[in-house]
């Protein structure tokens, strides 16, 4: 017997452990992927996931049901990741925006044959600042003004760091594409 989302929400508000586990089981896969994108490795992502779910269970009384429940949980996970980044004293100023234009984008025909895990690994390998802004902008869909507010940085910084992240990823994709082309042919 499947438990509905509404039942899970009400059960978690009442503090019922079995429904808290049901929520975890239902969303832990997607949320762990989110955490992986903001982390360097699996262990760090699991710590994030723990913190995120604890916050979800503590804050679920505030969820009014006006939007997507999954989206609400995802925002909590992202915010948890950002808090951790703040605690780690992430330095957003180490990037020189003047060098951005020297990178060119040669990606013209992106295929979907690249494994998700490989793409995820590319993001994880990014420096923390780039990774954070790329995740927020490209995956979560935030705009630069929102990112600047969330991280306490300027929009210019957000844009420049996104450009740097994009450039690095394109370089990696290009290498992978080269490796894949013989196989495609």
């Amino acid at each position: 017997m499947t438990v509905t989302e509404a039942e899970i929400i009400e059960g978690c508000k009442a503090g019922k452990r079995e429904l808290q586990k049901a929520l975890y089981t239902r969303f832990s896969g997607k949320m762990f992927a989110v955490c992986l994108r903001y982390s360097k490795n699996r262990e760090e992502a699991e710590d994030l996931l723990q913190d995120g779910f604890i916050k979800v269970f503590h804050s679920i009384e505030k969820f009014m049901g006006s939007g997507s429940f999954e989206g609400w949980i995802r925002r909590i996970m992202v915010n948890t990741a950002l808090e951790l980044i703040r605690k780690k004293k992430l330095d957003f100023s180490s990037f020189d925006i003047e060098h951005v234009e020297s990178y060119s984008d040669h990606i013209t025909d992106m295929t979907t044959t690249i494994a998700e895990n490989e793409l995820l690994a590319m993001i994880q390998e990014l420096p923390a600042g780039y990774k954070t802004i790329f995740n927020l902008y490209a995956i979560e869909g935030y705009q630069h003004n929102e990112i600047s507010e969330m991280l306490g940085i300027s929009e210019g910084t957000s844009k420049s760091q996104l450009a740097r992240a994009r450039h690095i990823l394109q370089e990696k994709l290009k290498r992978i594409e080269i490796n894949y082309r013989p196989q495609v042919k």
């Binding site: 992502a45 004293k89 330095d91 995956i139 306490g152 990823l169 994709l173």
Partner: protein, 565 residues
């Protein structure tokens, strides 16, 4: 446009691949989450549990105090005057005497009367109660003997003499009976008989139950000293007794021949004996009346004493009224009281250090306040208070200046008692452009921290003096529970965006126990309503948070309104 599409393609590739990606964490992760949930539930019980526990504790303390409170005391008059209290007790005793005389009280009065009688008996014999008692017992014993004697005489003469019907007949018959005139030996016999008659008469007395001597039996010389009413039954009994005695006399005489004179003499002797008895009865009656009179006098004396005590009672009441009036509104502690209070407090500064040049000039003290309600239970001049209160610790540092190098690479860290607040260099420097010749950047920051507590103060209080103003000292403990905490650091830049960081996961000690002491003064506005002000100090056993090493102390001044229940 082409460049933008390339960018979009890259981002689209990652978005499509990763936005809805699922990766399962390790199976043991849920156990860790569950363990943390259990730990946090144990660490901070629900607020309602805390509140209910507090209320139960207060209720239990009040109930125990109520149970052990000495109800025989008169707490409201406790401070008035001990003498007044004693006077009230006397009045109470006098009242009980005046309303009903108990058996023991009556016995006591009787003993007093007897004592008086004994004393008077020594002074004026023979009319004393003691004499009366002695005489009464003396007359009882011969009475029995007289019955025996009468029976004996009757037995001896039973068959020889007819019993006359009445005294007059007997007397007449005796006088008219033939008497031998020449009997010298008879004279001797008559004398002997007369002696016998006298002896019999002296031994044959009227029963002591005859308290009122019948008029018919009084001799001419007998005086009616008592002036008692005549009891017909007693007269009949007495007549019967005399009749029997006379019969015995006649029976005794009948054995020997008698002349008229001897018989008349014998009768006169008998009458004289009776007369003596009458006098004895009169004395007895008089003694009884004296006894009664003395009892009455004693009661009158008691009545006078009661009247005097009534006067004392009135005086005592006047004294109480005067004492109450003189003090106007005394501090008459009610058994139970309730007070609401507000207390501003000051503590030491919470910002302890800084990682860069830091200007503390604008720092203000750590402010705190509490307000609540507390219940009091009086034990004479002692009072036990327990209550529940909300309190808030709040501190603001307003617009201090932060100076740091434009080449700073380490984050700005502000150490507060709630934790270390770190500001990354990136956000700190974002939007700031500094001229090449400047090496130092100036920003401003404002810091606010707030911790909300619920408290349960339990204090003992000792009052000094009475009157409208009551000084007192107090000491006790304070149980404290942090229900929420919050810290906000706002960095205000000369150029660029402001940085507002909120810290909610702070390492505040949730539970704390503090020792408090204070001295205050209470002013009675009207009866049962008073206000008070109480400077006090408190030292918590634990610091404010896990990051704080300094003493957690406060100085405050509590003011409240107290209502006696």
């Amino acid at each position: 446009m082409i460049e933008e599409n390339k960018h979009n393609n890259t981002e689209k590739l990652f978005h499509n691949a990763l936005a809805n990606m699922e990766v399962q964490p390790s199976p043991a992760l849920w156990d860790k989450v569950e363990a943390r949930l259990d730990d946090e539930n144990r660490k901070r019980p629900a607020l309602w549990i805390w509140l209910v526990g507090s209320l139960l504790f207060i209720t239990g303390a009040v109930a125990i105090g109520w149970y052990f409170y000495p109800r025989n005391q008169a707490p409201r008059e406790y401070f008035v005057n001990k003498n007044v209290l004693l006077a009230q007790e006397n009045v109470a005793i006098t009242n009980s005497n005046a309303t009903t005389l108990s058996d023991s009280a009556k016995m006591s009065l009787q003993q007093q009367v007897d004592s008086i009688n004994n004393t008077e008996a020594e002074q004026a014999k023979p009319i004393t109660s003691q004499t009366i008692v002695q005489k009464s017992s003396a007359t009882t014993t011969p009475n029995k003997l007289s019955v025996n004697n009468t029976a004996h005489i009757t037995a001896v003469t039973h068959n020889t003499v007819a019993t006359p019907k009445d005294n007059s007949t007997t007397y007449t018959s005796l006088k008219n009976s033939p008497v031998k005139k020449d009997s010298a030996t008879h004279t001797t016999a008559i004398n002997k008989t007369q002696t016998q008659v006298t002896n019999v008469a002296s031994n044959t007395t009227i029963k002591p139950s005859v308290t009122n001597e019948p008029e018919t039996h009084k001799s001419p010389g007998a005086k009616n000293n008592a002036g008692d009413s005549i009891n017909q039954n007693n007269i009949t009994q007495s007549t019967t007794t005399i009749h029997k005695n006379t019969s015995s006399l006649l029976n005794a005489v009948a054995e020997k021949p008698l002349n008229k004179d001897s018989i008349a003499g014998a009768l006169l002797a008998a009458i004289q004996a009776k007369k003596n008895d009458s006098i004895k009865q009169a004395k007895e009656t008089t003694a009884n009346k004296i006894l009664q009179q003395k009892k009455t006098d004693s009661l009158k004396s008691d009545s006078i004493q009661i009247a005097k005590t009534d006067s004392t009672k009135k005086d005592s009441a006047k004294k109480i009224t005067a004492a109450k009036d003189s003090s106007h509104h005394l501090a008459l502690p009610s058994l139970l009281s309730i007070a609401i209070y507000y207390s501003p407090e000051i503590a030491r500064n919470d910002v302890t250090s800084h990682s860069t040049t830091f200007n503390m000039q604008n720092a203000v003290p750590n402010l705190r306040y509490s307000f609540g309600v507390k219940f009091g239970l009086s034990f004479g001049k002692f009072e036990l208070n327990a209550g529940i209160a909300y309190s808030q610790l709040h501190q603001t540092f307003g617009l201090d200046t932060i100076s740091f190098s434009k080449n700073i690479s380490q984050p700005l860290i502000i150490n507060t008692s709630l934790g270390n607040l770190a500001v990354p260099v990136g956000p700190l420097m974002a939007g700031i452009s500094v001229a090449p010749w400047l090496v130092t950047v100036h920003d401003h920051y404002q810091y606010n921290e707030t911790v909300n507590y619920i408290n349960m103060p339990i204090n003992a209080r000792l009052n000094f003096g009475i009157g409208k103003f009551i000084p007192y000292v107090t000491a006790g403990i304070n149980l404290q529970y942090a229900i929420s905490e919050n810290a906000v650091l706002d960095v205000i830049k000369d150029k660029g965006v402001d940085l507002n960081l909120t810290y909610s996961s702070l390492n505040v000690n949730a539970f704390n126990i503090g020792f408090s002491a204070g001295a205050g003064i209470e002013y009675n506005i009207v009866k049962r309503l008073s206000v008070y002000v109480e400077p006090n100090a408190r030292l918590n056993t634990l610091p404010l948070s896990g990051n704080d090493k300094s003493l957690n102390y406060y100085f405050g001044c509590q003011g409240g309104i107290k209502l006696g229940l």
